[in-house]
Symmetry: D4
Subunit: 164 residues, 8 copies
């Protein structure tokens, strides 16, 4: 039996898939199994609740939620669980993600959402942050993260040398 997913990646619409796959790719590179789901805080609120309850039962330990516009998805997930929830604000409306950023990060006191940058950079960082959270109690992921950091640093070094 394959290891169960540790991270659930939810997005509000399938048009968000190409961006949110950055989270999955980062997790995969760090050796963390994840699964993806589509659920909308507004069009399918009960499905969001169900997905969170299932995820808790299945041993998911971190949830990543990406949405655009008045992005309530991450907050709606956070309202249902004490698992750490990472919010990825997505572009989509004409306001370039300022709307989804404020809708995700400005959570009132009591129910936090760990918010990352708007768009692809944020989605990738959501994957890395989820791994960092898991690494608190999972030495393998900690080692993978340290290797990842070294590879990133090496790439910068190579590009710097390429400049000269």
């Amino acid at each position: 039996m394959p290891e169960a997913a540790k991270v659930l990646i939810i997005m509000g619409s399938d048009s968000d898939l190409s961006v949110m796959e950055e989270a999955k790719k980062a997790l995969s590179e760090l050796g963390v199994r994840s699964k993806m789901a589509i659920a909308s805080a507004h069009r399918t609120p009960q499905k969001v609740v169900n997905l969170v309850k299932e995820a808790e039962k299945d041993g998911v330990q971190v949830i990543i939620a990406g949405a655009g516009y008045a992005a309530h998805l991450a907050g709606a997930v956070a309202a249902q669980t004490i698992l750490p929830v990472i919010g990825v604000p997505l572009e989509g409306s004409s306001l370039s993600g300022l709307d989804s950023l404020l809708s995700t990060v400005q959570m009132p006191a009591g129910v936090p959402v760990a918010t990352v940058a708007v768009g692809k950079a944020g989605a990738k960082n959501a994957g890395i942050l989820a791994a960092e959270i898991l690494a608190v109690a999972d030495e393998d992921v900690a080692v993978a993260l340290k290797e990842y950091r070294k590879r990133m640093a090496k790439i910068v070094e190579e590009k710097d040398r390429g400049l000269k």
Copy 2:
């Protein structure tokens, strides 16, 4: 038995009460019965669902929801009902209501929130807008609204004369 409330006014916190009472006062001035409730989209998500379901059963016809920060309350209500939902973005965070405005108005396609201005002016207008919606099928409210408009115009006239 007193007439049941036609409008439910929900707010995320009791600190929003002094602002949201503007909605109740406007409705009262227009002869529309309303009731108020406190429920948080994040701290008590199930209570929001329950309030909406009860409201539908009790014959509520319009729901007004006011919240600050990443204001999800109006959207969370709208996700549970096809009743018209009016969102009032409230100040509260350091960002002067820009966060609650974008979180309320930028609803993605499919589930609208009828958004009004940030703060007290918006809360008052929420009450008037709820009455306008009821007036589509309630001649008494329509008459009250027309009188209200005339009174407003008269006040402007008086202030204009007072200037001279």
Copy 3:
């Protein structure tokens, strides 16, 4: 004789047509007859007044107004009627709709505009919101809205399954 339009959709310019048609399509899908008109709050202010007066006589029950830049159209319509007025802020200027959003939503106390999101998502939601308002007193529209919600939820479910 065909049933008269229940919703009037006004826009400030014919360049707004492709966006505002989203409102008409949503209404049509919900079985609500609507009609469209072009009138500018600044270039043809009297025409706006006339359109509203005519609409009231013809039994229109909700007015949707879409405009860009310093979008006064919805407010100008609302100043002439106690019918519920829905404002759709449109892109067009270099400021990505932030100008039309604030010009539409920040109505001072007394004359509300029910504002939806900037652009196409907002136009579609304006249609749905108009139907929700009509549904307060029209059981057929209420039924159509409930079906519409179910179809939306089903599409999300299908896309979620497609992911797996």
Copy 4:
């Protein structure tokens, strides 16, 4: 018979009076007669039209309009006349005048509003700008403006000397 007012100063509410008086004071200091009126683009749209028509008949040559929130007043005036219209965006809402600024300045092509800064500095400049417009054909006002500029420069000089 006293000379008729050359400039009409309209404001949306009497709460704007203390700010808009800056315009009157500047005009008075420049020897230009003005008169003030209160009229709201939303609560008394017909009164705005009437005021503009009267002003045209009475020989008014420039109109200054100040309003807060979704400030439509200047645009509504400009829609009724080919007289130059100066718009003063006022604070009042929680958004610090960003809403009234964009609502005033971002007029779509065809009907301009000459917009000045938000608040008191803008109101004062509206008075000066109105005088500059009149000075195009009125040598007395031109002379007064040149004196005014010299006085301003002298005050700066004195303050600079006071520093040393």
Copy 5:
């Protein structure tokens, strides 16, 4: 001898030409002669001063200035003359004209700039506003403006009919 230009249109760079020509076209359509010049408030500050002084001597009555980024051109012109100065904020930087808008409109008390919308709509309106200012003392321009308004209204009417 041809009639001298009544309006000077200055822009900060020749890359602004295609936008600022909207001002010239509007003036031309209204029968007002204008001339264009390129001068930068930062690269050629003395040239700006000279152009203004020459313009005053040549009988120019209104100056239009268009610039992008930290748009100082209109303010620099206004500092040199009591002629009415119209500022057109231009796009160009990554900030979509928010920078040039605030740099143009937020003039401190004492030296006003009559600011219009960002970009092409603003440039066109600058031409119309200049004509409105001239029309205060020039009946021919006033007549041309009234005709222009009628043509605009007619176009809206035609487009509205085209819709049906």
Copy 6:
């Protein structure tokens, strides 16, 4: 020997203390030991590095960093460790925390900061989020969080009843 701190709370200046204590209080209420330190990313960059290295040795598992203005502190901490880093944007400058929010949340791909709301609400949520991260592997904290949620919900219920 007392249990070592699991969470380190760093702030850029002692003027941030009253806000950042919200994080400590939330953690304390959830039974999580934390310690506070002052270190500036700009005035004492090496101290930041040292604090992080020490914290790692001492068994700290989550770091919370709060700073105002161009808030680099959380990012500077995150650059030194694979521990999860929570950033609290603080007010302080005239820009109401928009500067610190964007400086904290918009981290480029590779090094995430889990960002919460600006100011006190954010500081409190930072404490709760840190506890949620610890709860992934610490059942006691998970239980405390569930109790905390229940108490919050109860307070909302009581306030709602108090309304009636």
Copy 7:
């Protein structure tokens, strides 16, 4: 004969004095002589030109300019000299310094202004930056700056210890 001032601090109005004194104080603490002047880019444009020309003759090596609203002062100074010009955006308008920040920093290509933060922190940093520029060729100032950095670091250390 006292050593001549190396830094000229210009401000647009005497109301800016209490903020701009932070620059003078920082320079004084670093052993750099400075002098202050009041001159407005709009009310006294020629005085700005004269001050810059005098400053160049008197051996001034860096100019600091602080202004609010559409802050053109630093740019106007930079247009007259190749000396490094540091711009301090000041609060003053309702827009919290966003206007003066963009007006100062978004200089078009060719004439740079070295911009610092809005308000007091920026004024202080302007003094330090001026000293850093002088230190490129003045070993005494370099030594003073290094001492200053050490003192700052020590204060942070003391505050950190005070916490424990």
Copy 8:
């Protein structure tokens, strides 16, 4: 042996190269030798420290740093040196450089960054500003800058003539 570089240009990523080359080109046109390096404040914080220390030893006198998103690079450099540091905010995220601008310019008191405009215009101005700083003590660069200014003015003159 060739003259050593006086200016170090650091950027966070090789994707910034095409923009930051504007700084190098401007310096080269002004006869100032510069060198470029890639280093990330987050992915390679120690490399940033090392680059600054090396630069100081090699006689570099000004450092230019360009970065996007939450742009900490210039601040991280400034924290390590008393050399003047020029920050270039770069586009890259969906927020059009508003994030990098605020992250670069809003430095808290004590450690200034001389910030220029977002993007290419800013990068070019960073080169010119670095030359202005060097020119304080280097007559050759001062002469080159004066020539550069004249060439710029001449180009404006030519374009102005081309208009006629």
